[in-house]
Amino acid sequence: MNYKSDRDLGLVLCTHCNSVFKEEQKVCTKCKSKLKQRDKYSLAKTLSFTIVAIIFLFPANILTMMEVTTLGVVESSTILDGIVYFFETESYLIALVIFVASILVPIFKLVILIYLLYTTKYNKTYLAKNATKYYRIIKFIGKWSMIDIFVVALMIVMVQFGNLSNIIAGPAAIAFTIVVVSTMLATESFDTRLLWDKD
């Protein structure tokens, strides 16, 4: 594949307003943001956030997401418990949505991130086009993983009937939030321009 990158052309792109300037330009004339041809910590940052996300993926799935107290009986459930519950009660759609949003998506995102890191690190430029496509996907779906947290937060707020019925967030909720946020940060800190660099 033959192409010329901005570095080859001695140009720099403003990542905010998509204006193109000469290499020497440090600040965007339009939006006053800092201009960088490449983010040299991008890989490290992405890798670091990915590792954080992977670490927290375990407590997020093992620990309890939600503790439902009904008449003094505490019933704690993990993400998987929730999916099993909905699946058993034949609410397949909800089960599917939760499964996809809470388990599939974070794992998918992490897999993609690792893939991106791999292609960048070992300059597999032939995969760059493909990788960019995946990057766009994870960037798009990244925020949807928060749906689980929103559901829990909403439940906590809505079901507050004292001793009768009460819901509190479990430690998994925090872990899960960290997973989602770190994958998003990992995605954000990844400089896609690196994919296209041949050296």
Binding site: Y41, A44, P171
Partner: protein, 781 residues
């Protein structure tokens, strides 16, 4: 400079890289700590075998200790060896593991339970059942020392001593009507409950729990009884209705009472007896068996055993042997009367009968047939296994006496005879004397009281109520209640030491008559008073001597011969000695008004005699001859009459004056000489020819020499009024005579011979002035 910048930039980049790589480490740290916390909680599994795993849900049914979740059921499976058993595995929180995974820990299922006495586990209706754990020891140190154990058998129900300090006691009972959870009451205050009930050796054993703070109320001698829900007692005397606590109304309960002075119970293993009712405590535990072959009509539980009219027991059970027609009666006797059994008891069957005569046994009619117990001796005797129930009353040794009476009596056969309100005998028979109309009452006096009867005994009829009202007091006398409907006989014995020589006594028809008799039985004498008319003297009027009661009027009777009323009087001996021939009896009834111009003197005796009247006597001459009993005395209307009579003795002079009219003169009108009374008008009557009024005058002995043949009597009432030129001259005797009337005597200075008795003189109406000038000097007598 570039180098410098380069250097700074490198330094900066190193710092950023470090920070970037620090992040995963922090994340790792947090994550592991979270997971560690979680897994630490997870703990270990223990195995519990349940006979019934109904309601257990894997991963849901919790294990709790005092309401706190310490674990969760992780699996349930049927036991491999016994299909009626379930193996429940429970994941116990690691921290709680040391508490429950120890030897002796009890596990049981808590599920909603509603019984008459309690509703528990209500929360499990919504939350589902759970498993409760209780370690065998109460404090941490003890628990720590226990062996570890991971496999348990669940107990079927909550252990009785669950989490509670208090006293656990076993009670033995013959029936099992009480339910677990029924209350234990002390003075109607809830202090505990029945926690367990089981059947052992044909007895029901209840385990009761008494709360820690009340356990001192149980003493060594405490007695426990079953409180029936409703305690209804109805008898003639009223209805008693008692309900204990509402809970005991349905499920019953146990009450207990103790001697508060005793020490609290020490031996908690002591088994107490549970009585079936509070009354049962008072009864001897053993039955007394009575044997009879008569038709007894006794009722189980209702028929009573009486001793002297006091309920001392009841018929507990009855049985009948067909072969020899023997009835066996099982009776229960109160503990306090147990000693009666040692005194040769005699059991008698008493059947009530209704008759108009025997209305006084009305209460027995309602009581129904009962057994009467009497002790035959005070000596100790062996307690027998079986006693005979007699049909006829015990033959008592009695003293038989006969009472005579003139009146019809309201006593009947069986009527009681009382001595100081104690029944000492009864009427055996009542019949008419074979020859006269005299009523004879045969009475038997119980042997032990026979000493009360002797010659000084007085028998009388005791009627239900006697009211004795007098001015002095009002007294009610009532016979004992049993004699209320029917009359009874009572007697009094004045002197217990007197001998008994007769067995016939007079029966007085009333208490009052008896009292009267008793009065006249005192030492004294009887006399007769001759009255013109009996109005002023009443029977039972008292006789007074100087104001002190000295006797009574016994009776009055009309005397054909003298045409007068003879009143018999009774005078105590101590006063009888003042009675002699000179004694005069006079009425002190009413009041005596002494009316003069000087003063008005109203004289009454006591208020009592004012209304009732009375008799008093006076002895004029202490040395006069004594009189015998039943001597007849004249009766005077008043003391004055006596005094007057005293004055009018034979020694005085009696003359007659003839007046044209009686004018204001009357008996007792005074005769004056120089305005000094010398005599009285004794009586007056019309002259036979009707021309004048003859006034008989009595002149006292001392003054009779003043009356001479030529003496002149004039009416002192009259007063002269002379009207002359000089004025008006009024002549009169004293003012007193002006009002009361009177006669004045004048004798001329030249007096003649003494007047002869019954000499006649004219009575002048007017006084002549010349008469007043007369001034005779009498020679000494």
């Amino acid at each position: 400079m570039d180098e410098k910048i380069e250097h700074v930039s490198v330094k900066k980049s190193k710092k950023i890289v470090f920070l970037i790589w620090l992040l995963p480490f922090i994340a790792l740290l947090i994550s592991t700590s979270m997971l560690y916390k979680h897994f630490e909680k997870q703990g270990e599994e223990i195995e519990i075998y349940f006979d019934n795993a109904e309601g257990f849900v894997v991963d849901k049914t919790p294990l709790k200790y005092k309401g706190i979740k310490i674990g969760i059921v992780s699996s349930i499976e049927v036991d491999e060896k016994n299909i009626n058993r379930f193996l429940v595995r429970i994941a116990v929180d690691k921290k709680a593991l040391n508490l429950v995974a120890k030897k002796g820990t009890k596990f049981w299922k808590v599920e909603p339970k509603a019984t008459l006495t309690e509703i528990s586990g209500l929360n499990t209706i919504f939350s589902g059942i759970y498993i409760e754990a209780m370690p065998s020891a109460q404090n941490i140190e003890q628990i720590k020392d226990l062996e570890e154990q991971h496999t348990f058998n669940a107990v079927s129900e909550k252990p009785i001593n669950y989490l509670q300090d208090g006293l656990f006691l076993d009670l033995k009972s013959s029936n099992g009507t009480l339910e677990v959870g029924a209350p234990i009451l002390y003075k109607s205050f809830l202090v505990g409950k029945i926690v367990k009930k089981n059947l052992k050796d044909n007895n029901i054993f209840y385990t009761i729990f008494i709360e820690e703070e009340y356990k001192d109320l149980v003493k060594e001698d405490s007695s426990f009884w079953n409180i029936s829900a409703i305690d209804l007692k109805a008898s003639l005397s009223g209805i008693k209705f008692k309900v204990n606590t509402l809970a005991s109304l349905i499920a019953g309960g146990i009450a207990f009472d103790s001697n508060s002075l005793k020490e609290p119970l020490k031996d908690t293993n002591k088994i107490f007896n549970l009585y079936s009712s509070k009354e049962d405590i008072d009864y001897l535990a053993d039955y007394i068996v009575l044997k009879t072959n008569v038709e007894h009509g006794l009722e189980k539980e209702f028929s009573k055993v009486l001793y002297n009219g006091i309920e001392i027991g009841y018929v507990h059970d009855l049985s009948f042997v067909i072969e020899d027609k023997q009835s066996f009666i099982f009776i229960k006797i109160k503990k306090e009367f147990a000693s009666l059994l040692e005194q040769n008891p005699y059991f008698e069957l008493k059947k009530p009968t209704i008759s108009l005569e025997k209305l006084d046994e009305l209460s027995n009619v309602i009581k129904g047939t009962y057994i009467n117990l009497t002790k035959r001796s005070t000596k100790k005797s062996q307690i027998k296994d079986i006693y005979t129930l007699h049909n006829e009353p015990i033959k008592r040794k009695t003293l038989e006496i006969v009472l005579k009476s003139d009146d019809t009596l309201k006593v009947s056969n069986g009527s009681a005879v009382f001595f100081k309100d104690i029944k000492v005998g009864q009427v055996k028979n009542k019949k008419l004397h074979s020859k006269s109309d005299e009523l004879r009452v045969e009475v038997e006096i119980f042997k032990e009281y026979s000493y009360l009867v002797n010659d000084s005994s007085i028998f009388y009829i005791q009627s239900p109520v006697e009211i004795n009202a007098s001015l002095e007091n009002i007294s009610f006398k009532t016979a004992p209640l049993s004699g209320f409907i029917n009359s009874s006989i009572a007697f009094e014995t004045k002197n217990l030491k007197a001998k008994r020589t007769v067995n016939r006594f007079y029966l007085f028809p009333s208490y009052e008559k008896m009292l009267e008799q008793k009065y006249f039985l005192q030492k004294g004498k009887r006399y007769t008073l001759s009255l013109d008319n009996a109005n002023s003297v009443l029977k039972s009027n008292s006789i007074y001597y100087k104001g002190i009661e000295a006797g009574k009027v016994v009776s009055k009777k009309y005397n054909e011969e003298t045409k007068k009323v003879d009143a018999q009087i009774f005078v105590f001996e101590e006063y009888a000695k003042y009675i002699n021939e000179s004694t005069k009896f006079y009425s002190i009834s009413g009041f005596d008004v002494d009316f003069s111009l000087e003063k008005v003197n109203i004289k009454t005796q006591s208020l009592n005699t004012l209304v009732k009247g009375g008799i008093s006597f006076i002895s004029l001459d202490e040395k006069a001859k004594e009189v015998k009993s039943f001597h007849t005395f004249e009766f005077y209307k008043s003391l004055d009459e006596i005094l007057k009579e005293e004055r009018f003795n034979e020694n005085g002079l009696r003359v007659v004056v003839l007046a044209k009219s009686k004018s204001s003169l009357k008996e007792n009108s005074p005769i004056f000489y120089r305005q000094l009374q010398i005599g009285v008008v004794e009586k007056y009557n019309l002259a036979k020819d009707g021309t004048s009024v003859e006034l008989q005058l009595y002149i006292d002995e001392k003054f009779k020499h003043l009356v001479r043949e030529n003496s002149i009597f004039y009416n002192a009432t009259a007063f002269g009024m002379e009207i002359s030129l000089l004025g008006v001259k009024v002549t009169t005797e004293t003012l007193e005579t002006l009002l009361a009337g009177g006669i004045s005597l004048v004798t001329p200075t030249e007096y003649k011979e003494k007047a002869k008795p019954m000499m006649r003189f004219p009575l002048y109406d007017d006084v002549e002035e010349e008469w007043l000038q007369w001034n005779p000097k009498f020679k000494k007598l």
